[in-house]
């Protein structure tokens, strides 16, 4: 029997940091939003990992089952997934608009154009 211990949380932290790095280091705006999505998924995984009870089952009431996993994180994350898609769609719409106005979606080129216009 292999014990997972804290591995789940560590994997979440590593994923979170990959997402954060992509969001701050990559100049491409779509890439930044993809990094944000990776970050979001890692937060979801962290919450759901906390809600797991060993030997438990999915929180759907059935006869003969005593141990259920914690349903509360599941509810919170359901809400968070849908809010996440809302923010992603709004961010992508902004990227399209920026692409039309500046003819590029690379952050450094946008800043260059801004400096020239000033």
């Amino acid at each position: 029997m292999i014990s997972v211990g804290l591995f789940n949380y560590w994997a979440c932290m590593v994923l979170m940091m990959i997402g954060l790095y992509t969001a701050i280091a990559r100049p491409n705006l779509i890439k930044k939003l993809i990094g944000l999505s990776i970050f979001q998924v890692s937060v979801f995984l962290l919450y759901i990992s906390i809600g797991k009870v060993s030997g438990g089952t999915a929180p759907i009431l059935a006869e003969g089952i005593v141990v259920y996993s914690n349903p509360l994180p599941h509810v919170l994350i359901l809400t968070a997934i849908v809010v996440g898609i809302a923010t992603l769609s709004l961010g992508l719409a902004l990227v399209v608009r920026i692409g039309e106005a500046y003819d590029t979606i690379e952050e450094d080129k946008i800043i260059e154009q801004d400096l020239v216009n000033d």
Partner: protein, 179 residues
């Protein structure tokens, strides 16, 4: 057995995330994000969160891939700037990451039934929601009834985002209508 599957899937997700982060072709990155979301849906199923799993499979892998592809068709498919490593960003990320991992050392082990998270209101939902709501799925009864206002707020957020997208991109459709 599920522990091994859990570890393998999470490692695969990390590899995939690194690949997405390094990829220059945005079309491929969008596709890889779809795979990433499906993998996370499988992990959610392993962690007993079936409702979260199918929402992630439908919304995370389906809708967000479609949104990304739509954006790519309106902008560009290639990331133009050549790969350059950002030392400052890497430093910030490493410090934040090690602080977070240091924080997890105090957390209860994975699956610990005595973890503080399971000792508060969750027990009440599990014991009482069956007779109070007469819905077998506890997640549904909490989402739609005990925390109904949360869900109402969520609908407000989606509505606001929808209005924002229409305001930002509406001129594209108007232009097409005139032609």
């Amino acid at each position: 057995m599920t522990e091994i599957i859990d570890i393998v899937l999470l490692s695969f997700m990390i590899v995939l995330a690194i690949a997405v982060s390094r990829m220059q072709n945005l079309f491929m990155a969008a596709m890889m994000m779809g795979i990433f979301s499906f993998l996370s849906a499988i992990v959610f199923t392993l962690l007993d969160a079936v409702d979260v799993a199918f929402t992630e499979a439908a919304v995370g892998a389906g809708v967000s891939t479609v949104l990304l592809l739509g954006t790519l068709s309106l902008t560009t498919r290639e990331e133009k700037v050549a790969q350059k490593n950002n030392a400052l960003a890497l430093l910030v990320v490493l410090i934040t990451g090690s602080a977070l991992i240091y924080g997890t050392l105090d957390m209860p082990n994975y699956g610990d039934p005595n973890a503080p998270a399971h000792k508060h209101v969750a027990d009440r939902y599990i014991e009482k929601s069956g007779e109070e709501m007469e819905i077998p799925n506890i997640v549904t009864s909490v989402l739609a009834s005990y925390r109904g206002y949360d869900t109402l707020g969520e609908v407000t957020v989606i509505f606001t985002a929808g209005i924002g997208v229409i305001l930002l991109l509406g001129h594209i459709w108007r232009k097409e209508g005139k032609q």
